[in-house]
Structure formats: C-alpha cells, structure tokens
C-alpha cells in the first residue's frame, strides 16, 4: 500500500531531526563523513521507521531483518538512527570518535547495539549480504537483508562478484540500495571512474533494477514494494540523492565528503535543515 501523506510528513520530520543530529555529532566528533551521511538519511529512515522488521528492544532477535550499511563511513548518520529508534541512549554519541568510545567513524557490530555487520572498508557489504541471505534460506528464515551501497563504492570488484553470486543463487531476499549521489572523494563519480550506464550494468548482472528519488519517501517506498514483489532474484534500487542533502552549503559539494563544524557552521547548517520544511 502506498504511504499516506500524513505518514510521509512524519517521516520527513524524523529525517530532519536525524539530519540535525548528524550536524551535532559531527561537531562533537571533531570531524565526520557528513556529506554521505546526509545523502543516505532518508533511505535509513524509511528502513527503520517503515519497512524493515527491526526490534530495538531485542536487537539480537533471530527473526529480525538484517541491515548492512556497506558505505560504513556514513556511521555518523547511522548512529543517530539507531539511537532515536531506542537501541541506545543518544547522549552516548557525545563521545563519538573519542578515546575508547564504542563509536568510531565506522560502526563496530561488537560495540554498537543494532549494528548487524561491521563495515567501513568499502566493497564488503554486499558479499556479507549474500552470506546472510543464503543463511536465511538454509535456516528457513524469512528475514530480508537490506544492503546500502555508495556509488563510488561500486568501483570495487567485490561488489560485482557479490552481485553475480546474488543473482546466481536467485536471492530475492536481498534488497540493495545504491546511494547515487554522484560524488566520491576525489570528485564526481563519472570523472574519477565512470559508472554509467549503471542500470544496464545491474541488469546485466541479473538484478531487478528499480529507481527512485532517494529523498522522496513515496518513491522510495514504492520501489521497496516493487522489490518485494520480485521473487525470482535480487533487486537493486538506484536512489538518486544529493550529497550533503538538507544543508545548503554542503549540497553537491565534494569537499563536504568529510569535515568538521565550528559552532557558527552548526547553527548555519541547522537553519538550513529547518528551512527545508518551510518550503
């Protein structure tokens, strides 16, 4: 069923809150991968508040869906999602990056409740998703494995090795998102290492390819519904996103891949996030 406008508005409010959290944590941490955290926020909010079967009360619930943030550098965007869902106290994030904190830039599944898989080295998420999906099938479990990839991350050969395996084993219990913000560290994806025609590549590898505006909950949700109806193999949702989304001065700016924020910039960033609502 399509999302109601009321629900969409609620999700937008939650996402705005998470974006403000990201700004705060980046400032507390002294620096973080803020650009790619802001671009993936809406995907994470849709997963955690709408479509994924998660159980914050019982993070190890054996029947839960598994979520893999393969672009693990967006940990600064994932941690507040988990905190706001109730996996742990948000205040703990004041220690992000600090000595002996459970929260480094890339979240550790042994230290942070709710994190199913430790990531941070790019190109590892989809292979582990294939393993989880095969495991679910073997153990007759109905969980879905959600895997979120960066677009620059798609340069890694291991992603395509895993794509081949996911299609080979007809793993319809995997749904992959590509956070297609078109930027990596050294520049635009198409200048550093061209990915296009990207949809054709995934198709050729045997995926059901869907696309959506990655900041539009109705479109994202519709794509997820379509992925769920596809029962003969894996699906990928190419989500068109904006790196730095929500913070005007960061949007589409490659230099905001990673950065720190002074208190002035924190205020400016938050104003920008709040202003989006007014529009």
């Amino acid at each position: 069923m399509a999302l109601s406008q009321k629900r969409i508005d609620e999700l937008c409010d939650i996402a705005r809150g998470i974006r403000e959290d990201i700004v705060d944590i980046t400032a507390w941490a002294g620096g973080a991968h803020i650009g790619g955290a802001l671009s993936v926020t809406d995907i994470l909010v849709l997963l955690y508040w709408e479509v994924a079967r998660v159980d914050p009360e019982n993070p190890q619930n054996p029947d839960r869906d598994r979520v893999i943030l393969s672009k693990g550098h967006a940990g600064v965007g994932y941690a507040p999602v988990l905190a706001r869902k109730g996996y742990f106290d948000f205040g703990l994030l004041k220690d992000f990056n600090k000595f002996m904190s459970p929260f480094g830039m890339h979240l550790d599944s042994l230290k942070v409740k709710g994190v199913d898989v430790s990531t941070g080295s790019l190109g590892h998420g989809l292979p582990m998703a294939v393993g989880l999906a095969l495991g679910a099938r073997l153990r007759k479990k109905t969980w879905t494995t959600w895997c979120i990839l960066g677009d620059g991350e798609l340069n890694e050969g291991s992603i395509w090795e895993a794509a081949m395996a996911a299609a080979h084993y007809k793993l319809s219990n995997i749904v992959t998102f590509v956070d297609r913000n078109r930027l990596m560290i050294d520049g635009p994806t198409e200048e550093v290492m061209a990915l296009e025609p990207l949809a054709d590549k995934w198709k050729a590898y045997g995926f059901n390819v869907l696309s959506a505006n990655g900041h539009d909950f109705a479109e994202l949700h519709a794509a997820v519904e379509a992925a769920r109806k596809h029962t003969t193999g894996p699906s990928v949702i190419l989500a068109d996103t904006v790196k730095g989304k929500g913070v005007g001065f960061m949007e589409n700016e490659v230099k905001w891949h990673y950065g720190g924020l002074s208190s002035d910039l924190v205020e400016k960033a938050k104003e920008s996030i709040r202003a989006e609502k007014a529009n």
Partner: protein, 336 residues
C-alpha cells in the same frame, strides 16, 4: 648525504609528512620521466594528488578499486615506468595484498608504494582503517623493502632513496599530522642502515615511526633524571633489517626494547627478536606495540599513550626493564 637541490623546497614545520611526500614526488618527476602516480580515490588524502595536479597525463585514479590499482601498477612497471602508488596502508597491505605479492614482488617490479594512515594514525576511524598488520605482511613478501620513516623529513629522504633502489619498496607513513623529529635531510639516510639518535650503554631502544621522537625525548629525560645511558636507534628500515646494529646493541647494552605502532607480532619487534635469538647471546628483550588486539577507537595521541608508545610510556617501560635483576641470573655473565 642528501643530494642535489632538494631538501630546502619544503617547510617541514608547516607541512605534513604526506604533503612533503607529494612535493618531493613532484620534484623527482621533473627529473625522471618514468615516474607515474596512482591512487584509489584518495589522491587528496594521500597527497599524491599534488603530483596528479602537476602531471595529469602521468597520473591515474583507479577509483575505489585497490586490487585493480596494484595490478595496473604492475603493468605500468612492466611497460618500463616507475609507478608510485598511494592509498591507505590497510587497503594496500591487506585488501590488495595478493596483487602486491604476486603481481609486484613475485615479478620483482619497480613499484614504489607510499602507504598512508598506517598504524593507529587514523584512530578515530576504528579498526577498518587502522593498520597494525602491514609490517608483518609486507616483511614476509620476498623482494620487498619495508620502510617506516620517523617523520615527514625522513619520508622525503626515503622517497628519494627508494627511487634509486630497484625493485618494490613499501614506505609506511601516518596520516601526516605527526610532529617531526628531524630538522633537515642532512643526517645520512640510507636504506637498511639504522640511525643512532643517541649513544648509550645501559639499554637500547629500537624504534620506528612516531616512536622515534618519543624515545629520543625519553632518553634525554632518563639521562637527566635517572642517570641512565640510553641508546636510541631509529630503525627506519624494517627489511632489510640492520642486523649489525642489533647485534652491537645486544653485546654493548644487553637490554633491548622495541617500540612500534604495530601489532607486537610480526613487525619490528619480531624482526629484532629473530636477530637476537639467532645470535645466541643473552639479552633482556621486550617488544612494545599493539598487544595483539584490535586497537581502541580514539585520537592517535590518546592511543599512543594508552599503548605505551609516547614518552611517558617509554620512560615507564625502560624503568621497569632496568628494575629487573636478571643480571643476577647465574649464567647472565657467561652468555656473551
């Protein structure tokens, strides 16, 4: 001795080690057309981008694809070029380990690897970005030379020296914010030859990387406060190791402690221990580093303190070792 016009072109006080590397590479490239550069979406972070900006046609960004990048480097070397390759240490020594071993070392190719963010220098990023295994891995690859410069100045010297040495070389640096020990390159850097930072007869501290500066400072304090004569060796080349310097330390000081930003297994400590064991001579020995665990999260300075790799940690370790009375052991004197 450093040669040519080189060592005044950068300002070691205001540039990070990685920046100095980028600068030196540009100079070398001016004189040597065989030099090409590669990175994997970390041209900016590793500073090889400086070379890329100056020589765009000689620079290749492989995208985030380290295995492919090291394979490409091997191909370029086969074509008669001298590739300088830079990405983070963990993605070099671990992700692309087989390409480095089989494509580059096995074929003894002239590829120069400058790996950044070594050890715990990107401590906040967590274990996925720490690299406390690279020296063990790289040291075990036949044909490979392994260097851990003490600071940016020594990085410059090592980068120049590696170009003159045929075959694969792995130079491991930090994130680039480490304080410098050396003022200039005029101290006689030579691959495979330890630099004596201070002479001493009571104990020898064998160090590499950031531990050199900390040990130099500790030695000074130990001389003043404890009246100890502490030898400090900057063992910048892990392979081939300066065995002579180690043997001399065994015989002349009878106590050796190694300090490195690496797992205590497999790196400098292990390399030194192998020499001591082979010598058959009695020597008190300890290896300080990351004690075979995944390192905590945190800023590097906090981690160095925690793992005993800063000046205070070194002071404490030396006092502990000096306090042990193994000299009373019956056969201690007979061993030599």
């Amino acid at each position: 001795m450093s040669e040519g016009l080189t060592w005044t072109v950068y300002d070691a006080d205001s540039m990070t080690a990685a920046e100095i590397y980028g600068e030196v590479l540009c100079q070398l490239a001016e004189e040597d057309e065989r030099i090409v550069g590669l990175s994997a979406d970390l041209a900016k972070s590793t500073k090889i981008g400086r070379f890329g900006d100056k020589y765009p046609e000689r620079f290749f960004n492989a995208g985030i694809a380290e295995q492919n990048m090291f394979g490409m480097a091997a191909g370029l070397a086969k074509a008669g070029l001298v590739p300088f390759v830079s990405t983070m240490a963990v993605f070099t020594a671990l992700r692309a380990a087989e390409q480095v071993r089989t494509d580059i070392c096995y074929q003894n190719l002239n590829v120069k690897i400058i790996a950044t963010h070594g050890g715990a220098s990107f401590g906040q990023a967590g274990s996925t970005h720490h690299c406390t295994e690279d020296l063990a891995v790289m040291r075990s690859f036949a044909n490979m030379t392994v260097i851990v410069p003490a600071d940016g100045v020594e990085t410059a010297a090592a980068v120049r020296a590696c170009l003159k040495k045929d075959g694969p070389v792995y130079i491991r640096i930090g994130r680039g914010f480490e304080p410098t020990y050396y003022k200039n390159e005029d101290y006689g850097f030579e691959i495979g030859r330890a630099v004596t930072i201070s002479e001493g007869t009571d104990i020898t501290l064998i160090c590499c990387g950031v531990c050199v500066l900390a040990a130099a400072e500790a030695a000074r304090i130990l001389a003043e406060d404890d009246g100890l004569s502490v030898r400090v060796l900057n063992m910048h080349t892990i392979k081939p190791l300066d065995e002579e310097a180690v043997l001399k330390a065994v015989i002349e000081t009878r106590r050796i402690v190694t300090f490195e930003e690496h797992n205590v297994l497999g790196g400098l400590g292990s390399a030194v221990a192998e020499v001591i064991a082979k010598s058959g001579k009695g020597c008190a020995f300890e290896a300080v580093g990351i004690p075979d665990c995944f390192c905590h999260v945190g800023y590097p300075e906090d981690l160095y303190t925690h793992y005993g790799l800063d000046t205070d940690g070194i002071l404490a370790k030396v006092r502990e070792v000096m306090g042990k009375d193994f000299e009373e052991d019956e056969d201690w004197e007979d061993e030599i």
